[in-house]
């Protein structure tokens, strides 16, 4: 089944990290080692952005209250043309997923099952990422309160071609 793709052009997105770690702002590695909503441990990592600075700040407050170290919020301008927009009801219908399956609280049992199943399909299709509803504004009532999930490996594939794959068994001589 082909995916309904959308594009974003020169659109602004935000990521907030502790100031101490700001040099890692574009590293997707941590998401590769953990189960997260749209990335799967040991399979593929992702970079998670917010569609507004306010949503980024809301995420921080919901996790740390007033106890966090100084944070740094970075505004990015992003252009991508092969995204699946899960904020759109018609896209969810086509992918046979319900909104409530995408926005279950992280403490819920199986919170990531449906989002990860969708993410696997999108990643395997070689798409650049997806737009996703935020648990903080599931109905999308606030401007920009959604997330952008980017798959860096699929972006790299546009520039890096695998020439061959050779299986080698031990002993390696």
């Amino acid at each position: 089944m082909g995916f309904p793709c959308v594009s974003v052009k020169d659109r602004h997105f935000w990521r907030c990290l502790p100031k101490l770690y700001i040099q890692t702002i574009l590293e997707a590695g941590p998401s590769f080692t953990q189960e997260r909503r749209y990335s799967v441990r040991g399979e593929f990592g992702a970079l998670y952005f917010s569609g507004s600075k306010d949503l980024c700040l809301k995420e921080i407050v919901s996790r740390s209250g007033e106890d966090s170290e100084v944070m740094a919020c970075v505004e990015f301008e992003i252009t991508l043309d092969r995204l699946v927009d899960l904020t759109r009801p018609e896209a969810r219908t086509r992918l046979r997923v319900q909104l409530e399956d995408l926005i279950r609280p992280r403490t819920s049992k199986d919170a990531y099952v449906a989002p990860q199943a969708i993410a696997r399909r999108i990643y395997a299709e070689g798409l650049q990422g997806l737009l996703a509803p935020s648990v903080h504004d599931a109905m999308g009532e606030k401007s920009g309160w959604f997330n952008l999930v980017v798959y860096p490996a699929n972006l790299a594939r546009a520039y890096i071609r695998e020439v061959q794959i050779e299986e080698i068994a031990a002993p390696f001589r």
Binding site: C16, T24, S31, R36, E59, R63, G65, E66, D67, E69
Partner: protein
């Protein structure tokens, strides 16, 4: 008994001391004896015995002790050291308004708490 070396006059850092790590954890997280014993899954009497050991020999046998140490290192640069005790004792919205302290005694709960800190650290959105 010597005090942990990096909690002087109310100034707390998240650098793990060489000795008296258990005492240091208790101070960093602002745990009472009862809370610390609950998180470690031991009696208060056992906790007090463990605390007297400069080398933390018995505590080091506890997975839960190492989980607490790991949490302090995850929190480094993410939660202000002098607020870690506050953070662990108060409702956390991302955890469904559960109190982190109440989750730290078992592996699954610890996983949820550490994931929240990791996501703060790495900017992973929900």
């Amino acid at each position: 008994m010597a005090a942990p070396t990096n909690t002087l006059a109310g100034y707390i850092t998240l650098e793990v001391p060489e000795n008296y790590k258990l005492q240091w954890l208790k101070e960093v997280f602002e745990f009472t004896d009862t809370e610390m014993a609950y998180v470690l899954g031991v009696s208060v009497e056992t906790l007090r015995k463990w605390q007297k050991d400069e080398s933390d020999a018995q505590a080091k046998e506890s997975v839960r002790f190492h989980r607490l140490l790991d949490l302090t290192q995850l929190a480094k640069g993410v939660i202000r050291p002098n607020r870690l005790g506050h953070w662990v004792h108060h409702e956390n919205q991302a955890l469904g308004r559960l109190i982190p302290l109440s989750l730290l005694a078992d592996a699954a709960g610890y996983g949820m708490v550490s994931a929240v800190v990791e996501d703060l650290r790495t900017g992973i959105t929900d």
